[in-house]
Point group: C2
Chain length 485, copies 2
């Protein structure tokens, strides 16, 4: 909150120091027992004199975390750092309005596509960890500054930030040790929520501002999943609800009779377009949906541009449609009985999605057996996670009242197709709900409410984490889930 | 305190994060509700694994501020930063022993001899304040590292530091605003005690360690004087006691009937050898004492080297002896009636202390009328401070039971001579006690005892500060004190 003060300047009868002058004035307004953040003290005297002893104090619990000109607005930033993408939200803390929003690539990609290779970089390079932190912080600073300029505010008006991300992104942002995250049993350095001074992280905002990091759940179920749980208030429901956030690691939580269990599945980057011959990220020109209509292939691309490649929701549709059309058997082997299936590279069968003359770069866009296999691995991992959670709760798929799908891919995927290929449990598709960036929404919620920050910590502490890699049933279920129906 | 822990490594049945593992183990030893300092978290995972899960935690109140190999000793540093000199003490926090001690010049001298010119530098130069902070911190880091090497310990074993200094040195070390200190009414940015992370100041010690700064009393009565009060436990006495710390600014406190009043006198740098023609600091070859014995001049120099110049205690003796020998009148004018008084530069009378053939640099060492005047200004300021405090307490000099003299100059000066020239109130010289570096002793005391840190804050809050510059009697008393008896 912001509290405006009109102070009497020091004089020979009142030699209180600048700090005491502010704290006494706050105490008189019933803000007692306060203290002023050290970074704020470093400017206090000049600020008071430049502002002619009328000042807005920004208060967080018992701490004065900022001094602003009287009446100046107070803002916060919510950040969801994914392995691939970063979402940034600029929020007016007084009205709760999101006044700016941007999505950027995670610059750590230059150091490795996935979390494992980035952690390897940290291990191999002296100061590698600091370097990986630095590039993300620099990217955040640049974009926050831009967003401030657009919203016509100064960065010093940003006094609070909430950060979410998977455990590795969390640790790299906070400059915590990451090496132990890639060795069994994959324990985080910190799971509890953290408040770190923005200045300690090098984030450019109001000098006394803090970055709040939501709690992690386990080494591969991070603060981003806590944010999904917060945004969906999963702990509140009396129903049986599953929340799935699909990514390179797919985190799944199941709430049943008020008890939450969570797991993480190594689903791989196939749905982000990686390891797929003509795969690509969800960018303009990506084939995002595909359908056979009366035997004809119908495609839609992002922004209706000429096809460049296939993104996650596209490849999901293709696999489902191939199977539905009988062009692929239950093992994912192509059936050579169609104008679309041909012999391609290395004498292997491939599915011709669209010939070169209709694509942006004049190359045929095809799907290989290997591509299908990547999707089989991904969907089997995701499905096995769901099955294990159900088994642990001793319930059946049909007992699930609601499945919440979070994340960008989760928002664009065709739920019926996802059910058809066995990625999701086989229940009516009206029990599925696609949320969009639920992690980002959770971060915003935490930014606006201290109560939410406390609540989610309590909730997370009670979550039972299920380690899949050592679960005796996992391998069987996983292999079974590789098949198509 | 250090608490050694033997931890069970994480395994699949115990996936607690590294932080929780330590905190749970501490809780089991009845250290409940603890948290781990953020800088310590940054190394926690590697440290635990390198030390094979046996670790010493260093605890400060509810915070784990360090991790060390099991059984490793825990140390602290006390620092007294004067405008001219810095005293550093390395202390074993478990035994209380001072294991190292060094004195170095304050490198800020390169930016100005006195506080005013250094603050002017901060105002005129962008980043000037950071620069002045940096040079002191670098100097501290260098010497602390040396002292650690001598004591055969690692800097990471230093987990606590107490800092004292005058208000300007305090603000410059803590990188707080200083500009307001040179404009009436000279209010500090902060008077209360501070705990700043060593890392925030750039001090190289255990990563989670803190620097504790004792409270200031006023713009010109700093934390060093608080340390003098702490080391002498001035608040405990039922007697009437005066504590005087002589420097460029001389701080004086009077305790009478348990009530402490303090003031600061602008005594100038004459007693540090500045503004005196042949003045010098207390270094080898400085004339530190002088006496007329049967009409002959007897000198002693520091380390018995050939005379180079005159330091504070020497010039004090000279002035007293000149007056006692009748070579100077009550106004400080030389009387041309001696082999030692001659006509010198600009046809002015001067006192020949020692001819060039007996000095280190073959130059006559003389004392001018102007030199005497500098001493008159200094001693008058110091005396006026004492008189005002007595007047405020409504007591007479003879009511003072004890006068405590702090500081290096205060330790070496000849008390009888100081009384004779009117620098001190005229009471029997056995009521004076020379303490040595009482500020440094106070810093060590605070380093070893949290209770002392709390106590001195309470005491300082009750001190009544008397501003001399606006006291209506000051000017009269000051002018009267210029005379010799």
């Amino acid at each position: 909150v912001g509290v405006d003060l009109d102070l009497i300047p020091p004089n020979l009868d009142d030699l209180r120091d600048d700090t005491a002058r502010i704290l006494d004035a706050l105490a008189a307004l019933d803000h007692k027992g306060m203290y002023i953040s050290y970074p704020v003290l470093q400017d206090i005297s000049d600020m008071l004199r430049v502002q002619a002893w009328s000042i807005r104090t920004v208060i967080r619990a018992e701490e004065v975390i900022g001094l602003l000109p009287v009446g100046r607005g107070i803002f916060g930033v919510a950040v969801d750092v994914g392995t691939t993408k970063i979402a940034i939200y600029l929020v007016n803390l007084q009205t709760g309005d999101v006044v700016g929003k941007t999505g950027v690539m995670n610059p750590q990609i230059a150091y490795g596509e996935d979390v494992i290779s980035r952690i390897a970089y940290c291990r191999d390079q002296k100061k590698g960890r600091c370097e990986l932190q630095r590039v993300v912080i620099d990217e955040l600073n640049d974009h926050i500054q831009e967003m401030c300029a657009e919203a016509e505010i100064e960065t010093m008006q940003i006094v609070d930030m909430v950060f979410v991300g998977n455990t590795a992104m969390h640790h790299l942002l906070a400059n915590l040790p990451v090496d132990q995250l890639v060795f069994a049993p994959y324990v985080p350095a910190v799971t509890g929520s953290m408040n770190i001074r923005a200045r300690d992280l090098g984030i450019e905002m109001g000098s006394g501002g803090y970055v709040h990091l939501l709690p992690n759940i386990a080494g591969y179920v991070g603060a981003d999943h806590s944010a999904v749980i917060l945004s969906t208030e999963l702990w509140q429901t009396t129903k049986t609800v599953m929340a799935i956030d699909i990514g390179t690691n797919t985190e799944i939580s199941l709430v049943h009779k008020g008890r939450i269990t969570s797991c993480s599945c190594a689903s791989g980057p196939a749905f982000e377009g990686a390891h797929i011959r003509h795969g690509m990220r969800a960018a303009p020109g990506a084939i995002e949906h595909m359908q056979f209509i009366e035997g004809e292939i119908r495609l839609t691309t992002i922004q209706d541009q000429l096809p460049v490649g296939i993104c996650g929701s596209g490849i999901l549709d293709i696999v489902a449609e191939l199977r539905a059309a009988g062009l692929m058997d239950e093992k994912g082997v192509f059936i050579e009985d169609s104008q679309y299936v041909r012999i391609g590279e290395e004498d292997r069968l491939e599915f011709l999605l669209i010939p070169g003359e209709k694509t942006a770069n004049q190359r045929d866009i095809t799907v290989s057996r290997k591509d299908v296999n990547e999707i089989q691995l991904a969907k089997a991992a995701i499905r096995a996670g769901q099955e294990i959670l159900l088994a642990e709760a001793d319930i059946k798929p049909e007992d699930v009242d609601l499945v919440l799908i979070a994340g960008a891919f989760g928002t664009y995927l065709n739920v019926s197709n996802a059910i058809a290929i066995g990625m999701f449990i086989d229940i009516p598709d009206d029990r599925f709900c696609q949320l969009g960036n639920a992690a980002g929404m959770g971060a915003i919620k935490a930014l606006l409410s201290n109560k939410c920050r406390v609540t989610i910590c309590d909730v997370v502490q009670k979550i039972q984490y299920i380690e899949l890699t050592t679960n005796s049933n996992f391998q069987d279920i996983f292999l079974k889930s590789m098949y198509f129906n």
